[in-house]
Symmetry: D2
Subunit: 128 residues, 4 copies
């Protein structure tokens, strides 16, 4: 499953190099991931109300071109089949046809005790 | 009661004007407020574990000079006597002898139900 | 002149109280202000390329209800007639019919030397 | 060369899971990197005044344990020998003896034209 989300770069997201600060890209990834989970039928809000969390345990970003204030960027997020209890999501950030960055996050499901737990069967089924 | 806290301006806190973004000052205020509460004997952590929160209900900042990346800024926080159930804290941000900003926050105590509640007697006594 | 902008609250914008951190509201104001300037025919990008900046010299926010992760909030921004060289913008943040916050920012135009300067005649005329 | 920097976790850095948001770790890395560059005799400020920038082209973070509000965390940063024109820095974030995260950033030097350029000879020599 794959979705894409358009975001407008905020002034506050720039730094004194005149480009989007590199720590903002994981936030863009997250915004797309939230939409991805919603599109899959598992909105974060509902999951958390049921006592499930999906913390990030690994993050990678490769920066290829800078995003600038006012740009409309497109964030693509694609979920991969489970590797054990881990789920990996891959991302691309585009500005039109220009690739700004690629990246990934790896997640585990945890319960309210903060310990890893099995994902919902529904969720596993949906990814397959 | 009054405290002061030194902070080093982070690169991530700058924007493309080459100065600290204005939304960062409330975060500096908060860092000083946390130290103030600790110095008063009411650390946030302990208060929250007891089920009390201290959300901001009003914020004001007047910006006089820019903070820049790498500056060491001094944030002064001073608590005022209660006005009913509200507590007001005043702030100054200095870079050496240069005044960068003044500001204030107003807070109410709330319980876990998110509703305003009376502050601890100890707390009220301490401020007097 | 008045505009309104819809934003979806990001996970990264929440804090451990489970609500949007108060320092995020000025960023929402700014996002609406950017759209307001664009709608007035003076996009930030173009202004800055011409060597004009519009830093914030005063900020006020009154918090009435919390924004939560996933909420779609509407930010209204309204520009006021000039007071000398200063321009004031007023804001409201709504979640449906519920008022979350009100606020304002005050700005001066500055040149590349970081000193206040007269706004463009066009700009003054547009606000009248 | 290696340095370590102590930071106090800010309230604003937490999210509604009650832990430090994962996008904050790159900012902690950066704060340590700034101190590392200073300790090496190449402060960012001076480099940028000379027209050199050191943007991030790759970032990786592995999250092992959560940082919490009020924690004092220690960020270790260690610079590696050059790989061509790229410089890689490795990081560890500790809370006392508990490892919270490991990570790395990869950088290239760029000039004011935003294009990669050779690092200063001094800099290369210092790393050896």
């Amino acid at each position: 499953m794959e979705i894409s989300l358009d975001l407008i770069v905020r002034y506050a997201e720039t730094d004194q190099m005149g480009i989007v600060h590199h720590s903002v890209y994981p936030i863009y990834f997250e915004a797309a991931r939230v939409e991805l989970m919603k599109a899959m039928g598992f909105p974060y809000n509902e999951m958390e109300m049921k006592g499930f969390y999906l913390p990030v345990i690994d993050l990678g970003v490769t920066y290829k071109n800078s995003a600038k204030f006012g740009d409309t960027v497109t964030v693509k997020a694609k979920i991969n089949p489970f590797q054990g209890v881990r789920v990996r999501i891959d991302y691309e950030i585009m500005n039109g046809s220009s690739l700004l960055a690629t990246g990934h996050t790896v997640h585990v499901f945890t319960g309210t005790d903060n310990r890893p737990c099995r994902p919902f069967t529904d969720f596993v089924d949906r990814i397959k």
